[in-house]
């Protein structure tokens, strides 16, 4: 399968990474190198094989559905690039 420039642009947008027009051909080439390498997987007979969910056969632990932590708004916000009045601030989302 070959990735064209249009697909590269679409994937970049899906990943929310801005890629300039003139960088798209190189990106498409890199994708094709990597996907070409991955294509080898088609040689493997995977008929009837379960896709791996967990590498160690352990049940996930359950715990009480209770509050164990909280009340640290200042710490939560301390690394924010823009925090105001106890909130994360972002550009306008809704018109």
């Amino acid at each position: 399968m070959s990735i064209d420039i249009e697909t590269a642009a679409r994937v970049a947008h899906l990943a929310r990474i801005k890629v300039e027009e003139d960088e798209l051909p190189a990106l498409a080439t890199a994708f094709n190198d990597i996907l070409g390498f991955i294509e080898q997987l088609n040689e493997v007979d995977v008929e009837g094989v379960e896709p791996m969910v967990s590498v160690t056969p352990m049940r996930l632990k359950r715990r009480q559905d209770g509050v164990t932590d909280g009340g640290m708004q200042d710490k939560v916000l301390s690394n924010a690039p823009d925090a105001r009045e106890g909130f994360f601030a972002v550009p306008k989302v809704v018109e």
Binding site: L14, K18, E43, P51, M52, T56, V90
Partner: protein, 495 residues
């Protein structure tokens, strides 16, 4: 006592307990060594104040007779670990200025055991790389050189700073993480020992996530005993990581008897790669002979799906990374791009991530996005997860036949020059992990032990792979190999 930084953890522990040295002296010696090793670019955030404070506290504990093995031992911490109040950037610009309000479980456990943190160590950005060349801090440099050639070599990656710092005696040990070989490959490139434990042994809580089903922390140290001591302190169940194993942690150091009589060691034929340098093949044969001489039974085994491990990895790891790295959106921490008039939230995401991520990280996030996208999920992601099941089954089959451990080369070459691979396509760099990545896909413990020198005088490592949860037994086999190889070479100081 001279050359305090050259001490191994076990030696320093014994000297501390006997009162022959203090942690403050040991720590000052390391801080001085770090100051003189700027050329290696191993330590990227130094924490001398924290180190001195922790060292003084450790000395008090030791005097009071409360001295766990790591009490007073100066360590370096990979930048991937969140350390409270100390920059933790995963070597990425997108986490520029980030200072966690919390401490990772692994570093908490090390500090509870009395360890001293000298600073944070260089690495590939988000642990994505095999040469430490994707770091926002610039390359870490290998203290080893090819004889008198002053070309700078890579310490490997992603835990390149950790490897460089331990090999150059800037610290007594360091933490690493390993998603596809990021502990074992740099350990092999720098003549030190590094173990990736079984998936679930070390809590991942507070370690910046790359590929959650593959990531494991582990120690990088000067020998097998030191690795056992550090691993002991790093392991254990943590309710904050749902994949952390609720299993007792044995006394790994006490299991180092060096006796491997009657053990069965498998040699997988699929690891004899086309075009593999002759010296790697010779080293592997020597390792086989050494384990045989030590009383182990050597059997040839087959792991038929080995060839497909790297391609499966380069679907699964980017897929998980694209999901994990979605959190870097310029809202909660780290970098946010300057916005133009009229830019909305989508422009903020796209510009922030374009500025904050390096090329390799962007590439992997986008590949991951692609293999998970509608229409390709089954063809790529699900197929890779099925192949992963088969790779794990290969190992289960040989363990069921009575194999205790598997011996392979650690890397397909010795350390290469910084910049030597830049012209190659990304896949050429990925081949560095060809011998190590199977172990992550199968969730097994693997250890790299220095075993010899290349013709150019660079260290080469052998890898041993063990049964799940049997790190103790694996460390003991590695200990027997270490005794047989008698590897003691150190890089000559040029920095």
């Amino acid at each position: 006592m001279t050359d305090l930084t050259k001490l191994k953890i076990a030696e320093a522990r014994d000297a501390l307990r006997k009162g022959e040295v203090t942690s403050v002296e040991l720590t000052e010696a390391c801080l001085t060594a770090i100051e003189g090793a700027g050329a290696l670019n191993a330590f990227v955030h130094k924490t001398p104040e924290i180190a001195r404070e922790q060292a003084a506290a450790a000395d008090t504990r030791i005097k009071a007779g409360d001295a766990p093995s790591l009490c007073g031992i100066p360590l370096g911490i990979k930048d991937l670990f969140c350390t409270k109040g100390v920059a933790s950037q995963a070597a990425s610009n997108i986490l520029g200025g980030f200072k966690p309000e919390y401490e990772s479980t692994v570093t908490s456990q090390l500090f509870d055991a009395g360890a001293v943190m000298l600073g944070k160590l260089n690495m590939d950005e988000f642990a994505m790389g095999s040469s430490n060349e994707t770091s926002c801090y610039g390359n870490a440099v290998n203290p080893w050189r090819r004889g008198n050639d002053d070309a700078q070599l890579t310490p490997g990656g992603s835990s390149g700073g950790s490897a460089s710092a331990v090999a150059a005696d800037l610290c007594l040990g360091a933490t690493g993480t390993d998603t596809g070989g990021s502990i074992r490959q740099p350990a092999a490139f720098t003549g030190i020992t590094g173990i990736k434990p079984t998936y679930g042994r070390c809590s991942r809580w507070g370690i910046v996530a790359f590929a959650s089903s593959l990531d494991q922390a582990g120690p990088m140290a000067k020998d097998v005993r030191d690795s056992a001591i550090m691993l002991q302190a790093m392991c254990g169940h943590d309710p904050k990581d749902s994949t952390s194993a609720d299993l007792a942690v044995p006394d790994f150091e006490a299991m180092l008897t060096g006796d491997i009589k009657g053990k069965t060691i498998g040699i997988p034929r699929e690891y004899r790669m086309e075009g593999m340098p002759e010296e790697i093949d010779a080293l592997w044969a020597e390792g086989r002979k050494m384990l045989e001489d030590a009383g182990a039974r050597i059997v040839d085994i087959s792991l038929p799906h080995t060839k497909y491990a790297l391609p499966a990895y380069y679907v699964i790891a980017p897929a998980e990374a694209s999901s994990n790295l979605a959190r870097y959106d310029g809202v909660r921490y780290g970098h946010r791009a300057k916005l133009s008039q009229g830019d909305g939230i989508v422009e903020m995401y796209e510009k922030t991530r374009a500025e904050g991520f390096g090329d390799e990280v962007k590439r992997r996030v986008m590949v991951g996005t692609y293999v998970l996208s509608a229409g390709f999920y089954d063809a790529y992601y699900n197929r890779a997860r099925k192949v992963r099941t088969l790779i794990k089954k290969d190992f289960e089959d040989v363990f069921a036949q009575g194999v205790d451990a598997i011996l392979t080369p650690a890397t397909p070459s010795a350390a290469f020059g910084l910049g030597e691979m830049t012209e190659a396509d990304p896949v050429a760099m990925y081949l560095n992990d060809v011998f190590t990545v199977t172990v992550n896909l199968a969730g097994l413990p693997g250890i790299s032990v220095p075993a010899g020198l290349s013709k150019q005088g660079l260290p080469l490592g052998l890898q041993l792979i063990g049964r799940p949860w049997e790190e103790g037994d694996l460390l003991n086999t590695a200990y027997a190999l270490e005794q047989a190889t008698g590897f003691v070479a150190k890089p000559s100081k040029w920095w």
